[in-house]
Structure formats: structure tokens, C-alpha cells
Amino acid sequence: MSLAPLAGAAAQAAPLVDPGTLLSTGGAVDGLQTAARVLAEGIGKAAVYFTIAVGLTLVFGLMGVLNFAHGAVAMVGAYLGGLVLVLFVGANTGTLATILVFFVALALVFAVTTAAGSAMEVALIRPIYDRTPTYQILLTFGVSLIIEEVARIVLTLRGIQPNPQWQAPMGTAPDVLLGRTELLGVGVRRLYLFEVAIGALVAVAVWAFLTKTLYGLYIRAGSEDTEMVQALGIDVRQAFTVVFGVGTGLAAVGGVLLMWDPIWGPSVLLSIDVLLYAFVVVIIGGLGSFTGTLVAAGIVGIADSVTTWLFTTGIVTFPGLSEVTIFLLLVVMLIIRPQGLYGVEEVGGH
């Protein structure tokens, strides 16, 4: 392998590289400390993976619809969240105020996309439930094409380049999040801690939605046996609308979370990236399983951080290691246990 492509790839991977990791391995190798750092970063990445995937699994669990527009909605969420922050955060806005605006953006984007998702379910997906799942995949894929192109048109009209990351909202991240915190003797990036906090918040909210609300009960019952739920007199169609809306809203929340992350960042290309990684997480965890998504996000996050560490320290010189590993995880899981870690065998089989 020649040196030139490696240098190029390393430069590309630069935002992924944690300078601290490089330093620590350069000096006296404190194995335990390095492991702790890799683990901490893995958990940070896991929080992101969980947030972008949980909506997908929720929708699939109840409705058996693999929503190919999930990534496109996350992309819209990143831009809408970015818009709120750019509008309300100035140069001298305080840290606390910025974080407050972030939460306002989160809530606003969730509300808007939930409503849009529900409308989409009623208008487009409801007419084709009686067809094979293929057609729902096709339809949502078509919708994602439309969303992406509309996003490109709007962005171009506003003078924003659609493919590179939109820097303005990324610049609004408060300085506090850019630094590191000593945690168990390891310097952990605060952005990761923030992402873990949001991820945990989303996890708790979804868990509460599933276990404490009526619709959650419908979802859990519906993913076991939809016909039985209908036989008990529950309006599954209405539940479908609500769940599809919430799933869409969660995708957008994932997008808002990605907005400050230099690895992702608002860009139209986010659409396909989020979709592919969400698929991996959801399939590994088992389609339709909340616990599975949580565990799978952990596995993928840690695999990501370990492989990133292997590459940045030069142990492995292959730049695509991280992505290859993640998709290999998907393939291997499908070979040894197609229903995923916590999946039910019948779900999505046909």
C-alpha cells in the first residue's frame, strides 16, 4: 500500500481522531487508561447510534414497516435544529442559555416532525398496508428521495452548500462541550458526555412511553400479535398513526443530536449515513426490540471506537476499518442469528 492514500485517508479521518489517544499510546502505555478511554468514547458513540435507531425499531416493532425515510427525517431534524440554534444563539449567549435553546430546538423539531410523520402515515402508508412489505420499503424510499431533493433546493435557495457540513450551527456548540473532563483518571470529551446524557434521556422517555402509556401497551402487544390486539377491540390504525409519528419524531431528535457532532454534522449526505447505521443497529438488536436496540447500539458504538483507535494508533493501517467492521457485524449477525439479539423470529420474516 502506498503512502499517499493513507495520508489522505488519515486527513479525512482527522475529526475522528482523538488527539489524546495518540498521545497516550505514544508515551508509556497505560493499557487500562487507554481501554477506559476507548470504552468511554464507545459509550458516547453508542448513545448516538441508539438515538438514531430507536425510532426505526419502534415503527418496525408495531407496524412491520421498515421506514427508509428515517435517515432523511434525521437529516431534516439536524437542519431544523441547526436553524433554531443559529436564530437564537448569538456570540454572547451564555452556555446555559445555549443548552436551553438546544432543548427548545429538540422539543420543537420533535413536535413538527411527529405531526409530519403522522400525516405521512395517514396519507401515504395507510393505503398500502395490505400489500407486501416491499411496497412500504419502496414508498418510504421514494419519500426520502423527495425530502432530500427538497432539502437541497431550499438550502441552495438560502445559499447553503448541501453536501459539506453546515458550519453555522456547529459553531454554536458552547465551549464547555468542546473541552474534556477528567473521569476516573481519563480525559473524556464533554460532547460525548452530553450525547450520553441526551441518549439516556431519549432511552428513558421511550421506555416510559412503551411501559407507562396506553400506546406503549398497544405497541408491546401489537408487536407480539397484531391480530389479537385488533380482536380485543383496539383501534390499531390509530396506534399506527401515533407510533409512526413518534418514530419519525425520534429520527429527527437523533438528527438534532448529530448537529453538534463533528463526525456527523448537518449535511444532506446525513440522510443515507443515518439510515445505513440505523439499519445495522436495529438488525443486530433484533427488529422491533427496544432492549435489543439499546444493547446493539452499545456493541456498534464500542466496535466503532475500538476500530477507530486501532487505526489512529497505526496498529491497523486500513482506513476503512471502522465502517467495514460495522457492516461485517451486520452480516455476521444475520448469518448466525437472523432475528437479532432480542428479536422475535417471526417478525419481518416474510
Binding site: 411496497y135 414508498l139 431533493e149 444475520l334
Partner: protein
């Protein structure tokens, strides 16, 4: 609703199967008592031509199109022809993407297994051809004729399909789609970072040597160099005063490959093997119960599909002379085939070509590369209209951003409408209307109207 029924693909085909019977009956009186149907060479040929009248008409249409297009450009209607008819460069894309979509339809439309990683085979064919041309494939010397490397690449892709299929066909439905997608993404990421391909693997590789030729290997007179810049051009064809540009020559050369591949796939689908593929789509358990080893049939069908997918990738690489991971191995390449297949007709084989023609036509109309609506509007409308204000945006800006190069948007909308209202696609719906394949039913319908 019969149309929205998932089995409706079968409806489109079932009558086709039924119409086989009358066709055979009409054979009998023509061929007297001879038990072997093609009693004389001319009789067999006439029979063959009658059966393939629609095929022939479509091929003649494709052959005449460049000449008609060039002729139109010399008339006063030129601006409109440029704006609304696909340029030859787009027609070349129709050929190789149409072939790729057909190979996708071959497995997905006929066995019902959605091959979401089909780009892996397209990419394998494309990369094999380019690397072989650069002498980077061990055992394949640099000067090996393109036709041979094309076939070798296709065989490699077929073997790759066997490997991927051997584990993937244990799964069904969404899981099959996901595992094939997973495989393709793994290969995509590997190729993207594989320094052996070129010094900058994310950008792909380029053919450094001579033009690649389609035709009979080692016979210069019977082969045509392809490529927009490196291809052959023909002046004063057969003394008819017709000049053919490099693009048009490439179009014909690629067209020959596509026609051969189409008839090969069509032959396979109409053989007992193809009937088993349809049986697997309709009811795999029953097919197995009847005694067909469905797993092996699926694997073989997947390998054949991968083979032809790689041919599509190979001719694309020969024409464009460069390959990039994003244009070959990426998920969106499969998505293109999926879109055109749905628009053209799922499980119709020829449909994807018409779907590609439709999407490429749209792309041409909405791009400014060769005329296009945007150019027509910009040049045709007076300045005052162009600067007119629409919600704070001038019409010109609107045309620039919402029309120019915006084919994917309208394609998305049309695609969604097709999924909702025309799930059988163009050709599938046409077959439903005619009650059989177009080739078999259209002559009868025409006769009825002409009588």
C-alpha cells in the same frame, strides 16, 4: 383490488403462460405432419420473426433513434428536440443502466428476493474491466481484449453471487434485503480504502491504456472502440452520407451487448428453470414440496443475475473509462435500478429498460447538459418575465434551483405515485391491459383495430 395485490406480478405473467398454448396450436397446421416444429429454415425463421415482431420493432426504434435525433437537430424544431428528447449520451446510460436494472429484476422480480446489494456485482464487473485493462489483475495480461475481460469479470461476479447467496438465501424478506445490502456495503468500504486499486481509492481508478473495444476479440474489423473521447467515429457510413460520432458508435456497440444479454436472460426466464423461479416467488414452500431444490435454484438464479449485472458494470466502465466506488458499489446504484425497475414494471425483464428510458429522459429534460427545459425557458422567455418576483425569489432563480438538474425530486414524486397507483409499472400495467405479454398480444389487438 387486484392491481395492488402483491401477486399481481403473477397476474401479468400467468396470461403469458396461458397464451403459450394457442401459440403452439397455430404452429401445428403450419408445420404439417412433421413432428419437429421448424421443418424448414425459412418457415422457422418466419415463425421466429412473427413471435418477436415487437422485440424487433423496439430494437429498430433504438437503432434509428440517434439518426432521427440528429436529423431533428437540423430542423427548425431543434430547440424543442434538444429540450425534450434524450441526447445520445443519455441513451448510452439507458443501455448500461437498463441492463443493470434488468439483471436486478431477473433476481428480485422473478424470485421475489430483493437484492439490495446488487451494486456489488455491477461494481465487480466495472472494477474488473478497469483493473484488467491496467494489467492489475494477476493472470490477466494487460493487452487482453475487452470482451474477454468483460466475461471474466462477469464470471467473478457470478462466483461472488454464489458466495453471498450461499449464506443470504437462508433468509427471506427484509432480512435477505438487509444481508445483501450489508455485503455490498462491506465491499464498498473495502474498495474505497484499498490502495491497490489506485493511489486515491476513494476516487476510484481510470483506464490508462487504449480504448476498449466491443466485438470479436483479435479481429479489428469486427470490433468497435467505445468511449466518448477514445471511441471510434464513422464517417459516411456505407456511402450513405451518414456520419456517426464516437458517442453514437459507442451507443450501438453497447446496444449489441445489451440485446444479447436481454435475449439470454429472456431465454432463461422462459425455460423450465425460469418457471421454477416464478414458482419460488409465488409459493416457495409448495415449489419445494413439489420436489424442486429451491435453494439451488435461487443460488443459480442469483449467480446468473450477478453475471449480467457485472456485464452492465463492465460496459459502463469501458464507455466511461473510469470507475469510482460511489458510482459502482454504493447503495444508491442499487437504488437507481430499484426505481427504474418499479417504474418500468417489476418482474417483466424488459420493463426496467423502459423505466430507465423514462428516468433518463426526465433527467435529460431537466438538465442543461443538452438543451433541457431550463435552457429553453431561459432563452425563450423575455427578461422581464425571468426577473418577475415570486415570493421574494425571481423566476430565473427559481428555474435555476427548482428545475435545472432537479430530476431526482420529480423522479421521487413520480416514483411514489407509481408505488401508490401503478404498482405494476409501465410494462406490467400494459400486460395487464393486453392480457399477456406485449409481443404475444399486441399483434392480435392491432389486427382487431385494423380489420
Amino acid at each position: 383490488m387486484a392491481i395492488s395485490d402483491p401477486d399481481s406480478g403473477a397476474d401479468a405473467d400467468a396470461p403469458a403462460g396461458d397464451t403459450d398454448a394457442p401459440a403452439v396450436e397455430t404452429d401445428a397446421p403450419v408445420d404439417e405432419a412433421d413432428p419437429i416444429p421448424p421443418s424448414t429454415a425459412t418457415g422457422g425463421l418466419r415463425e421466429y420473426l412473427r413471435d418477436h415482431a415487437v422485440h424487433a420493432a423496439v430494437i429498430v426504434g433504438f437503432v434509428l433513434y440517434p439518426l432521427a435525433y440528429e436529423a431533428l437537430l437540423a430542423t427548425p424544431a431543434a430547440p424543442f428536440a434538444e429540450a425534450f428528447l434524450p441526447a445520445i449520451t443519455f441513451m448510452v446510460v439507458v443501455l448500461y443502466m437498463g441492463l443493470f436494472a434488468m439483471s436486478f429484476d431477473f433476481i428480485s422480480g422473478y424470485t421475489g428476493y430483493l437484492s439490495f446489494g446488487h451494486a456489488a456485482f455491477y461494481g465487480t464487473g466495472a472494477y474488473f474491466v478497469v483493473l484488467a485493462a491496467n494489467g492489475q489483475i494477476p493472470g490477466v495480461p494487460g493487452g487482453t481484449p475487452f470482451m474477454i475481460t468483460l466475461l471474466l469479470g462477469a464470471v467473478v461476479a457470478g462466483l461472488l453471487a454464489l458466495v453471498i447467496g450461499s449464506v443470504s438465501f437462508r433468509l427471506t424478506g427484509v432480512y435477505f434485503a438487509m444481508i445483501t445490502l450489508g455485503f455490498a456495503q462491506v465491499i464498498y468500504e473495502l474498495i474505497r480504502s484499498w490502495g491497490y486499486v489506485s493511489t486515491n481509492p476513494t476516487e476510484g481508478a481510470t483506464v490508462s491504456g487504449d480504448a476498449l473495444a466491443i466485438g470479436v476479440p483479435f479481429v479489428d474489423a469486427l470490433s468497435l472502440d467505445v468511449g466518448r473521447l477514445t471511441g471510434e467515429s464513422v464517417e459516411n457510413l456505407l456511402g450513405l452520407g451518414i456520419d456517426l460520432s464516437t458517442t453514437v458508435v459507442s451507443y450501438y456497440a453497447l446496444g449489441i451487448v445489451v440485446v444479447v444479454c436481454y435475449f439470454a436472460m429472456q431465454r432463461i426466464l422462459h425455460s423450465p428453470f425460469g418457471r421454477v423461479m416464478i414458482a419460488i416467488r409465488e409459493n416457495e414452500e409448495r415449489a419445494r414440496a413439489v420436489g424442486y431444490p429451491t435453494y439451488r435454484f435461487k443460488l443459480a438464479a442469483f449467480a446468473i443475475s450477478g453475471f449480467f449485472g457485472a456485464i452492465a458494470g463492465g460496459v459502463f466502465a469501458a464507455y466511461s473509462r473510469s470507475v469510482a466506488p460511489d458510482g459502482t458499489f454504493y447503495f444508491l446504484v442499487t437504488a437507481d435500478a430499484l426505481i427504474t425497475t418499479i417504474i418500468g414494471g417489476f418482474g417483466t425483464l424488459a420493463g426496467p429498460v423502459f423505466g430507465t428510458l423514462f428516468t433518463q429522459g426526465l433527467e435529460d429534460v431537466l438538465s442543461t447538459e443538452s438543451g433541457g427545459v431550463a435552457t429553453l425557458l431561459r432563452e425563450g422567455l423575455p427578461e422581464s418575465v425571468l426577473q418577475a418576483d415570486l415570493f421574494g425569489i425571481s423566476l430565473e432563480l427559481f428555474v435555476n434551483t427548482a428545475v435545472d438538474g432537479r430530476a431526482p425530486l420529480y423522479l421521487g414524486i413520480i416514483f411514489v405515485l407509481f408505488v401508490l397507483f401503478v404498482p405494476n409499472g409501465i410494462l406490467g400495467t400494459l400486460r395487464d391491459r393486453l392480457g399477456g405479454t406485449v409481443g404475444k398480444r399486441l399483434p392480435d389487438h392491432l389486427r382487431r383495430y385494423l380489420r
